[in-house]
Symmetry: C2
Subunit: 206 residues, 2 copies
DNA sequence: GTCTATATTGTGATAGAC
DNA sequence: GTCTATCACAATATAGAC
């Protein structure tokens, strides 16, 4: 897995290397797994999506499950990589808003991959699933740290625990993977701002 | 499908009829579909869960997909049945809070079934999936009606559309199917109250 | 690095006895 | 209503040629 190259190529710079077939397979798999589910997607479909035979996939990956596992790992690597710098030591409402926007932006910009991690995780072997769950829990702990510090600083209400606040927050943010459309009326940034504002200020008039 | 008998039997009254095998199969299927997914669950597992052979299931249902479809239909029937009476004509914050509690209570009390509807819907045939999506959209329209009326009455902020408010609300509520545990520290009622309060009043200190 | 051919296993569903 | 036996097919994965 060559790091960043899984992403859809942006505005190509001069020496952007062409994505490897292995990476193209990851992209195709994320798309198919999110739309149809892991078990419903055949290796032949995955191959066909990148222009090779189904069996040729086994030159790049040992098993179909390896692809799912790779996607889960990469999803959590990116989430942590992008959110952790913002989460460390942050303790203000504005810091939390930034974390919210980074989380939403990350999961929606590579929505196929992150949705696959969040919902197809269950198709992994026990050992691998436990490992992914551990990493996901670590990520949530990161967010809970921010929430707890803002709360300790008096910025968040104290009648709910940091754990409960964090769960409610991530619930609201994560379900967007099921309905957000790039071609809809909201950009990812607008949506993230909305959700942050709603979580912090609430929906009722003041 | 004999209506209420899908539910786990509560404190049995005197003349409670024993659940039919067909209904037991629905319960077992909801549980398995939520834990492992529709495609990953075999007809042999479903039979075994109720003490019959896999093939015997075909006496009660024509296809495996019929069971999934039945669950989706029943999920939406119950949601609508329980929420609609509260939603009609309601226009106050308290009405909305009641709707929130009814929605959360319904999906979490029969979590297997509602989770199956929400996430396994995609495994239905195009025609059936479209029908389920239609009913789900109707249900969301019901909720959006409440939101819009409370908003028009001045109870909800007007800088976001009723549609956006409703989506954010249902996002926060629905993701609970992934993490709520009966044996956890929150009862369903406590959680519903928390989420309602958070959505309406927000997480920030006032 | 990709192909075709195929081994192997598992699955949904049917037939017919009881 | 449930069983056993089985059909028909689809799927993952491997072998070996190119």
């Amino acid at each position: 897995m060559t790091g960043e190259s899984i992403t859809t190529p942006g505005t190509a710079t001069d020496e952007a290397p062409p994505p490897s077939t292995a990476d193209l397979l990851l992209v195709a798999a994320a798309s198919a797994f999110r739309r149809k589910g892991y078990a419903e997607t055949t290796t032949r479909e995955l191959g066909s999506a990148v222009g090779i035979a189904g069996a040729s996939l086994y030159y790049h990956y040992k098993t179909k499950e390896d692809i799912l596992y790779g996607l889960c790992q990469e999803s959590l690597r990116r989430l942590t990589e992008r959110v952790a710098p913002l989460a460390e030591l942050s303790d203000s409402i504005d810091d939390l808003q930034a974390v919210i926007e980074a989380h939403v932006g990350t999961i929606l910009r590579d929505r196929d991959m992150h949705a696959t991690m969040l919902v197809e995780m269950r198709s992994l072997s026990d050992e691998r699933r436990n490992h992914v769950i551990e990493r996901r829990d670590s990520y949530e702990t990161l967010i809970r740290g921010v929430v707890a510090r803002v709360q300790a600083a008096g910025g968040l209400r104290a009648d709910l625990s940091a754990r409960d606040l964090t769960r409610a927050l991530l619930s609201m943010l994560n379900w967007t993977i099921f309905w957000y459309r790039e071609d809809g009326e909201l950009t990812i940034e607008e949506l993230a701002t909305q959700l942050g504002s709603l979580f912090l200020e609430g929906a009722a008039t003041r």
